[in-house]
Amino acid sequence: MALSGMRGLSVFISDVRNCQNKEQERLRVDKELGNVRTRFKNEKGLSPYEKKKYVWKMLYIYMLGYDVDFGHMEAVSLISAPKYPEKQVGYIVTACLLNENHDFLRLAINTVRNDIIGRNETFQCLALTLVGNIGGREFAESLAADVQKLLISSSCRPLVRKKAALCLLRLYRKNPDVVNVDGWADRMAQLLDERDLGVLTSSMSLLVALVSNNHEAYWSCLPKCVKTLERLARNQDIPQEYTYYGIPSPWLQVKTMRALQYFPTVEDPNTRRSLFEVLQRILMGTDVVKNVNKNNASHAVLFEALALVMHLDAEKEMMSQCVALLGKFIAVREPNIRYLGLENMTRMLMVTDVQDIIKRHQAQIITSLKDPDISIRRRALDLLYGMCDVSNAKDIVEELLQYLSSADFAMREELSLKAAILAEKFAPDLSWYVDVILQLIDKAGDFVSDDIWFRVVQFVTNNEDLQSYAAAKAREYLNKPAIHETMVKVSAYILGEYGHLLARRPGYSPKELFTIIHEKHPTVSTSTIPILLSSYAKILMHTQPPEPELQNQIWTIFNKYESCIDVEIQQRAAEYFALSRKGASLMDILAEMPKFPERQSALIRKAEDAEVDTAEQSAIKLRAQQQMSTALVVTDQRPPNGMPAQPSIGPLSLVKVPSETVDSQNPGDQGLTHPNGVVYKEDPQPPSQDIIGDLLGTLSIEGPPGAVAQSPQSATYEAEGAPSAADAAALVPVGEESGSVQPIGNINERFYALCLKDSGVLYEDPNIQIGIKAEWRAHQGRLVLFLGNKNTASLGSVQALILPPTHLKMELSLVPETIPPRAQVQCPLEVMNLRPSRDVAVLDFSYKFGPTMVNVKLRLPAVLNKFLQPITVSPEEFFPQWRSLSGPPLKLQEVVRGVRPLPLPEMANLFNTYRLTVCPGLVSVIPCVSDRFMNLLNMFLLVEVELTGVPLSLV
């Protein structure tokens, strides 16, 4: 079957294949191109057959990797040929040679449209395929309506309709406006009733794209998706030809489950039940078999089912079942399954409450870090990074460090960045952190970016306890014969700053320190010399009484660099030289660096940047965004992608002042004027947030960061304790906050958000983040407050007082007085509701950071609706009860005006989050909501909401 049916083409292909080398091949191809070019020039003499042949040759040459910059016109013109063989060639070659941005394509739009609306089914197929594969915006605008018509036409055969569905999907991607939501949602639902599985598969792909952008409009498709999935999973009524290795179209199953992942929930209990039954069946009924293809197919379905279960927040039991399955997968030999097991386990981390089960597999995951397959190693690294927390950080980071020496180069940078971030985030103690980073630099210096060593310097500077330890460590590393230049930088910096703390120990005299640093001097590049010069200047300053010999040595060096071509070096040398002759005043100028302002780690920012992905919004990402609040609580402080990462620099930039002003404000402040002795004359930029800004921000003379923290103002945010009776939802306005520590995000908004959900962030400022997680059972509730210290220094005098209103009984467990750096403390809080009331409990929280006392009063989201328990009541039961209530105080009516119009399902959703059930069966005009309030008191709460006239009544 090796004959193409076109002799000239076959001969050409054989010729090319017979070429001995690339050069010969090029000659042969050039000859052919010349030939084709001349033939195209006098087009008139070309028969359709010849034209077709030459166009194929062009495609072949193009495929071999040669530039084919002519003949596009001929290919496009074949599209309008009257006969099938030529037309088909025109379509296929055009679709291969051109992309949507080629101008030539415009010429074809009309012909293509004629083929689409024409009667010839075969031509329709060709045209739809072309548009589906390379159609751009212009195609979308001029053809979408025709394509839609074909898709829903009852006279078209499935053959055409399935192509129309995918073609429409392409056009929708190019221009979402082409699918008119209002009219289309119903049509889409009808398409899901399609009997032909080919059309159904294509339609399902279309639905996935539509719901990924707007699930609201397509709620009616949800039950149909579940039905389809049921039918497939039970293999009911599936033609033999649509099974693949005995599995009913795995593709359709996967797509259906993908579509379901874009709906936030499945509300209808019956649909939900049947969906879970199917999922359970898939989870349990998939075995690893010998046949590779069958295995692939069944596991494609299984992994999609896992993703859907995660999305649906199944019961804990089912979740642990999933984790157990994944645990099995990451231990199997089959590499694909292992890879996907690791990947899905990483996704699973988003789901609360399973982290502990995942942790049990740590050893197995570490094994995968040493797998021969780099793809698997990458997944393992990602998973380890994701599952790391305070409890296992030491093990994981040490494992990563160990792996670093043997890891491939492609992974080292990522590996070292991740190790550095984990070490920083979860360090059980800071000396360990210093150890890790120094080891990191030692083992993989080339892959350690500057921000990593900047960061360790920041930590050391900000923690006095750490300084002599770090100096000793740095000294140790300098003893090694060959060390990485980054190590020279960091050691020189630390020894210059803190070497004097150890001056009494043997080997730490200024002279010895200088010698050991200076030994490295010949090997370093110009970027390191300025740091060395600063260190020398500092050593010189700490040498009391001065040693003339050392002084002379250092002065010689300064002298030498005074004429250096590098301006930075020259300036430092000249200034240090001049300054060091000033004697006593040197002490002030070269004093220790002030503390760095607390900022979001540049490393974490960098990691986030790397994660920015241009891909279409995926179900998983959407989910990640929905889950972010939980993730924040659980994983301490991984800022969500979606939220603007406004780091703690904010307040600092507000008070940035020229150095002169700072001086006058802090006259006695150790003479901080020019912290490292370098006088920067101009500094017009605001403190930059980039990498340099992180370290050098304070090196230049912006307001020393201490200035903010040192002003002993206490910040107090007043939150009114007594709620106004105005409305149940919007409770109290929070007073304007004052003071120097500004909260991040709006406290009010955070509170309202928490009234509707059970976990999230209650409060955040540059120093602390307070997360909350709650569980409610009838009149009782259990909250956990997560107090996370974001700083590299401890927070002291931590106090949390609960000011409960009379109707709530609240008991807060002991809150520790200090929160260690980077640690998170959990404080359980028990709540019991004694009677219904709209008053709110307030948390009076205070802590001390440096000299600053911060006090905030935060409303706790233990609000009325949390204690409600939804029950289902039929309209027949509801109305008699409703009517039997006479009036105030049992029945209240309130009219709310100016409410933003809400679609019905959204409204129902809102009520659900308030723990009110919408009675089934009452549509559009009066959805009635009924509820029971607290077992104990056995009170009923009936709510009637009339949408048209907008009266809102409460009983």
Binding site: A2, N99, T122, T129, S202, Y244, N336, S375, A615
Partner: protein, 161 residues
């Protein structure tokens, strides 16, 4: 969605390329160069997925030929692996135990077959029978056109039209 399909031989020769996302000529050759470097150098018994520039490339080797498809990170990798195998099975059934030579000399048919499996980078038809039936109709239409062109009667008919 599938961004592109690539068939490369073990020697690095391209046997078929199909781009569903817009790549310029220059980008196309760059992608081919990069990916053949990565995929061809992977040993046996490794998994069928490679991470590449924020995308996943799913590949599978059949004799000396690598079938590669590039997808988004969040897509279902195994599903795509199934598509590759499904495509190969159709080729196999159509050519009758397909080999690389079939695809070299009949590359235009391979393109046509691929168009029946994928459109817009999405999977189109899972029934092998339906596709094979279509392919034979297609072949007979080409044949018929050939015969028509040669038959004199037809020529007369065209003239008198």
């Amino acid at each position: 969605m599938i961004h592109f399909v690539l068939l490369i031989s073990r020697q690095g020769k391209v046997r078929l390329t199909k781009w569903y996302s817009p790549y310029s000529q220059k980008e196309r050759s760059k992608v081919i160069r990069e990916l053949s470097g990565i995929v061809l150098n992977r040993g046996p018994k490794l998994c069928n997925f490679v991470e590449w520039r924020g995308h996943r490339v799913v590949y599978r080797r059949y004799a000396g030929l690598y079938f590669c498809m590039c997808i988004d990170e969040a897509d279902n990798e195994l599903e795509v692996l199934d598509i590759i195998h499904h495509f190969v099975e159709i080729l196999d059934r159509y050519f009758g135990s397909v080999c690389e030579l079939d695809l070299i000399f009949n590359f235009h048919k391979a393109y046509y077959i691929l168009d029946e499996v994928l459109i817009a980078g999405e999977f189109q038809e899972s029934s092998k029978r339906t596709i094979i039936r279509l392919l034979s109709t297609h072949d007979s239409m080409v044949e018929m056109a050939k015969e028509e062109a040669t038959s004199i009667g037809n020529m007369i008919a065209q003239v008198t039209k």
